[in-house]
């Protein structure tokens, strides 16, 4: 009996991990399509439309999801002089692996009750969930830095060092803006954060973005800088550094770096939706209260199954929010011009950092004076 329970929990864990990783990779892949189509829309072009399979181009999906990876597979795997193949591959591992791990702490939906167990729809239920994501995010810096070092190329090295300075600086701002939200939610657990955002607050939904709008803007900006995309794409600014730390990477290695960048966008969108947009919650409506029958529209055999709508709806709402945040990031990337490097640094340390400290002190004062009593309500 005990062994059976062990097998069941292992099976459920494996299924959840599979679900999480599929969600992340599928959305990252679709993001590459968004990237090409949205950029085309903004620049008044058509975008990817050449390749077709059986006469269907599916609005460029064939081009971005079939032809581009295929091209990367067939390209020459180039290793620069004086660098071993192993050392050249290592940064790719450091870039991809931490980002894929981050999805483990993300809650997708309200808990599901099945087989007499309450299954939390989150790969692991960590009580330090947000810190876990930040920890693996900080490992991604190493991938970029090592990529610059093992490329044996001054442009790449310069790009790598720029990336480190940028990511480490913006990590400080990211952590501080998240800290002000931790004060409000009183938890590091991401599922608790989502649960804290139910209900209303002076007529508005009880979401982080309404509780603390300044923290949302700082967090979102810092997250954009962490993903190293325009207007923060100085580590790989093509006009100055060839392609920065990516210069000596081709074929599948380049594609994996690219995939990790888009996976970072998805993780970033997940975190923003969970901390500031209520995760799987709907405004003014508690989806966990939905029970079965929809006023008798559904057939009888379906009602007898006691189907749980809340996890399914929650996952759908969460997916929509994450997708919207991904598209928003892509729109920003194609709309704003690049910073100059000294502007980037002074923006972080002089403006964002001071705003963060002010925000933190303000939030703490409001919290102590009882301005945010979301748990009691």
């Amino acid at each position: 009996m005990e062994l059976n329970e062990l097998y069941i929990s292992l099976l459920i864990g494996a299924l959840k991990a599979l679900l999480g990783i599929t969600f992340l990779l599928a959305l990252a892949a679709v993001n590459t399509w968004f990237e090409r189509k949205v950029s085309a829309l903004i620049q008044n072009r058509t975008g990817a439309n050449r390749a077709s399979l059986f006469g269907m181009d599916l609005a460029g999906l064939v081009n971005t999801l079939v032809c581009d990876p295929l091209k990367a597979f067939l390209k020459e795997d180039w290793v620069p002089k004086g660098v071993s193949q192993f050392m050249h591959c290592l940064p790719v591992f450091f870039a991809v692996f931490p980002v894929l791990l981050c999805i483990a702490a993300i809650p997708f939906a309200p808990p599901l009750t099945a087989l007499g167990l309450e299954i939390s729809l989150q790969v692991t239920n960590l009580n330090a969930g947000l810190l876990f994501v930040f920890a693996f995010g900080s490992l991604a810096v190493l991938g970029v830095l090592l990529a610059g070092y093992v490329s044996n190329n001054k442009f790449a090295l310069f790009g790598g060092l720029r990336a480190v300075a940028q990511m480490v600086s913006y990590e400080v701002v990211l952590g501080l803006s998240a800290l002000s939200m931790l004060i409000i939610y009183r938890s590091l657990d991401l599922q608790d954060m989502v649960l804290a955002q139910s209900g209303t607050f002076y007529g508005l939904p009880n979401w982080g973005i309404f509780l603390n709008p300044l923290a949302f803007f700082i967090f979102f900006t810092a997250m954009m800088a962490e993903t190293k995309r325009a207007p923060f794409d100085l580590p790989e600014s093509e006009s100055e550094l060839v392609a920065g730390y990516l210069t000596e990477y081709s074929g599948m290695k380049f594609l994996l770096f690219w995939l990790s960048e888009f996976a970072e966008i998805v993780i970033c969108a997940c975190l923003v939706s969970i901390i500031f947009l209520g995760g799987w919650q709907l405004p003014y409506f508690d989806i966990t209260t939905i029970t079965s029958d929809w006023g008798g529209v559904l057939p009888d055999w379906f009602n007898r199954m006691n189907f749980q709508w809340a996890p399914l709806l929650g996952a759908g709402i969460f997916g929509l929010k994450v997708t919207a945040m991904c598209v928003l990031q892509i729109i920003i990337r194609w709309t704003l011009p690049r910073f100059r490097y000294d502007q980037l640094m002074s923006f972080c340390w002089k403006i964002l950092f001071s705003l963060c400290i002010l925000n933190l002190v303000g939030t703490a004062i409001l919290m102590l004076s009882g301005g945010y009593n979301i748990w009691e309500a």
Partner: protein, 186 residues
């Protein structure tokens, strides 16, 4: 099954720690150290302290190793051509290392059978709340003093890094040269 996982993890941790010392190239040692820190984080996870595990990766593998690798990247050649240590240095090193090992081994209660019984120890949870309460209630003074110390260190580092502005000799600056040109043009 738990102890088998522990032994595999422990073996890998010691192996990577050994690799840090033995590998000839300094960048390889740094990577072995990152792996060692990550494996230690897994040990903490098995002991039920997720918070410590996350901090181990965030601070050691994330922050400190990034600093170390940056310094290797910037001054890599300075590390490569080092002379081998002399006999005296080796003897002193061995004595110091074994003394440290002896002191550390005193801290591990092997004889009482607590060392291997980590499944039982996993019931002691170190959650964020526990650590926060310990820091802000029991060790509050020490915690605040460490904050002051860190502030001092930061100010000191900025002081050391600040360039000493020496007074320039007359007529050596760019502006003085421009003014000279302007005078000549007149």
């Amino acid at each position: 099954m738990g102890s088998l996982v522990f032994y595999i993890l422990a073996f890998l941790t010691v192996l990577s720690a050994g690799a840090v010392v033995c590998l000839p190239k300094v960048i390889h040692s740094a990577i072995a150290l990152i792996i060692c820190f990550c494996l230690l984080a897994i040990h903490y996870l098995f002991l039920g302290s997720e918070f410590i595990a996350a901090l181990q990766i965030l601070i050691y593998a994330g922050a400190i190793m990034v600093l170390l690798v940056v310094s290797i990247v910037l001054m890599g050649s300075a590390f490569e051509n080092q002379q081998e240590a002399g006999l005296l240095a080796k003897v002193i090193g061995v004595i110091l290392a074994s003394a440290l090992l002896f002191v550390l081994s005193l801290a591990v209660p092997v004889g009482k059978g607590q060392f291997l019984n980590f499944e039982e120890q996993a019931t002691i949870l170190f959650s964020v709340v526990d650590i926060g309460q310990a820091l802000f209630e029991k060790y509050f003074l020490a915690f605040e003093l460490v904050g002051v110390l860190l502030l001092l260190v930061t100010v000191g580092a900025v002081m050391l890094l600040q360039e000493k502005k020496l007074p320039l000799p007359e007529g050596s600056g760019l502006r003085a040269k421009r003014q000279e040109h302007a005078k000549e043009a007149k």
